[in-house]
Amino acid sequence: MTEQRTPYIGLKNITKVFGGNAALKDVSVEVYPGEVFCLLGDNGAGKSTLIKVLSGFHQPTSGIIRVEDRELEIKSPRDAAHLGISTVHQFGGTFPLMSLERSFFVGLEPTKGWGPFKVFDRKTAKEIVVREMQEMGITGVTDGGQLVGSLSGGERQVSAIARAVYFGAKVLVLDEPTAALGVKESAHVLRIIMEARNRGLAVVLVTHNVRHAMTVGDHFAILIRGEKTDDFHKGERTREEITDLMAGGEAMADLETELAELSGARTTYL
């Protein structure tokens, strides 16, 4: 975990103020390739704001952003995309009414032919989409023409991750990916996250679910009311300590139940 020392992205002393209210106060984080960085905190802690800064939706009020040791600004989502930062939102970030191959390739459609008669090569797109989805473990998808909305929530998350990986994202930012999913689907998504990490991506995982974070995370930070209150690596804190550190963390009883279900479901995925 400590081989790479140059972070791909470094946020230093980031402050973001919205109309007199500081959503982020002097937050510094570093994101390394091949590492899952978990951003923990309860609702309203500032996690969403921080990743919006990362993905170009907001510009910080003050602070420095470094990408591969160059200081620059991320002025728009397009900028972020060019830098290889791919954000996957809670509800899949896809287009539910479009077919898989259309949704997968929006903005980056493969084309055939030339001039004004350039055709969107949907046949190739369908083949690629099915292949990528299958590689990510969604074997139920065999027809790229299926509508995105017919996939389950977890499958949609995975397809969004597959898209980011396919288009060469360097940083994968996931905003509460398991919050709307059941136990078994969450497990699948977490596995895919580890798959992405193993392929060398830097993963930023935003969650308020300590259990899930501990399953995949290498490096953790806790945000409380806009400030970073703790920064540690895997193994340095116990689950109870983390829960205590996060004000309003999950009740122990819920954790126990999920633990039992998760260890039971693990075996069916082998």
Partner: protein
């Protein structure tokens, strides 16, 4: 096949054909009656097709009627009143329509006001402008035009008996619009825009340019219909086109396009346009009292839209929505059932 958006629209079309074939027998199946609804469909289609792209992208264009009148009136005033040749008046009419479409797109993208409000304001404002200018230059509201032989035989001509050349124009436009949506990446952008504008922008779709282009398209289509009617009927009226605002939306929605955008197809819109035309003209063949015509029209259209909705729900559920999925195909069906039982 059933999950394609065109399918429900096709069923709707089949239904009205059978309906009027039965109640309108025998006159409904005659050549002249067929021409009457095909003409209506072609003229409406010139507006409905570009409007369908606008609506798939998640916008509305309520100004199509006013733009149609503006295009028609420009042509009529320049050629009919001032006596300029057709090759100046006709392109001017098309240019005026495209320009106001451009204005619509510009205001929508720059001000972030909803297209409903922007095009609604354009509807009133442009109508007033057309009225004012027409009164100022011609002091009437209906301007007759001596259309040149060339224009009359192309835009205003008849293919065979009463079948209008406008049908050919419609077919050409249908091919172009279908090509754009099915075959090009721009079509994908239009769908993405309607699905989620923010995600589309994040994915790299040039949202502003596409939006302006779409409104220019519906402006062009409206003006095209306007000048075609001048060529066909020899006059332009200031108040023309108001009904097309609703008719175009009906044709597009019956054709399977979601009112909120992100879903739909030009082939479906063609079916929807034909369905509307048959319903509005088929009533004459039945001999039913015209007092009830609007009620029948409304009821049939409601049936068409509901059946559309039902088929779209089917399309959306075409995949397996159960959360657990066996990862190997070796698992027999019984296990799946028990898994479902314990899951709820």
């Amino acid at each position: 096949m059933t999950r394609r958006p065109e399918f429900a629209a096709f069923i709707g079309l089949l239904f009205v054909v059978i309906f009027f074939g039965y109640f309108g027998w025998p006159v409904f199946t005659s050549t002249l009656v067929t021409a009457s609804w095909l003409n209506v469909a072609a003229e409406l289609g010139l507006i409905a097709l570009p409007v369908s792209l606008v609506m798939i992208a998640g916008h509305l264009d309520l100004s199509v009627g006013s733009i149609m009148a503006a295009g028609a009136m420009t042509y009529a005033i320049l050629t009919g009143h001032f006596g300029l040749p057709d090759y100046i008046g006709l392109p001017a009419g098309l240019a005026v329509g495209t320009f106001f479409g451009f204005l619509n797109g510009l205001i929508v993208t720059k001000t972030k006001v909803s297209s409903f409000i922007v095009t609604l304001s354009m509807m009133f404002g442009l109508r007033g402008l057309v009225f004012g200018i027409t009164r100022l230059t011609t002091s009437t509201v209906l301007v007759p035009v001596e259309v040149s032989e060339m224009v009359r035989s192309t835009f205003g001509g008849r293919l065979y008996k009463t079948f209008e050349n406008a049908i050919v124009l419609w077919v050409i436009m249908a091919i172009i619009v279908s090509w754009i949506l099915y075959k090009t990446k721009y079509g994908n952008w239009v769908l993405a825009l309607g699905g989620d504008k923010t995600f589309a922008r994040a994915a790299g779709v040039p949202v502003e340019r596409v939006t302006i282009g779409l409104f220019m398209g519906s402006g062009f289509g409206s003006a095209l219909l306007g000048i075609t009617q001048v060529a066909l009927y020899g006059s332009a009226q200031v108040s023309a086109g108001q009904s097309y605002v609703f008719y175009s939306i009906i044709a597009v929605v019956v054709g399977g396009v979601l009112l909120t955008g992100g879903y739909g197809s030009p082939i479906g819109v063609i079916f929807g346009t034909l369905t509307f035309a048959i319903v509005s003209q088929g009533i004459y063949s039945t001999g039913w009292d015209s007092d009830w015509a609007s009620l029948i029209l409304g009821t049939l259209l409601l049936i068409a839209v509901i059946s559309n909705n039902t088929f779209r729900q089917l399309a959306l559920s075409a995949g397996d929505k159960v959360e657990t999925k066996p990862t190997t195909s070796k698992e027999p069906a019984e296990i799946k059932v028990t898994q479902e039982a314990t899951n709820d």
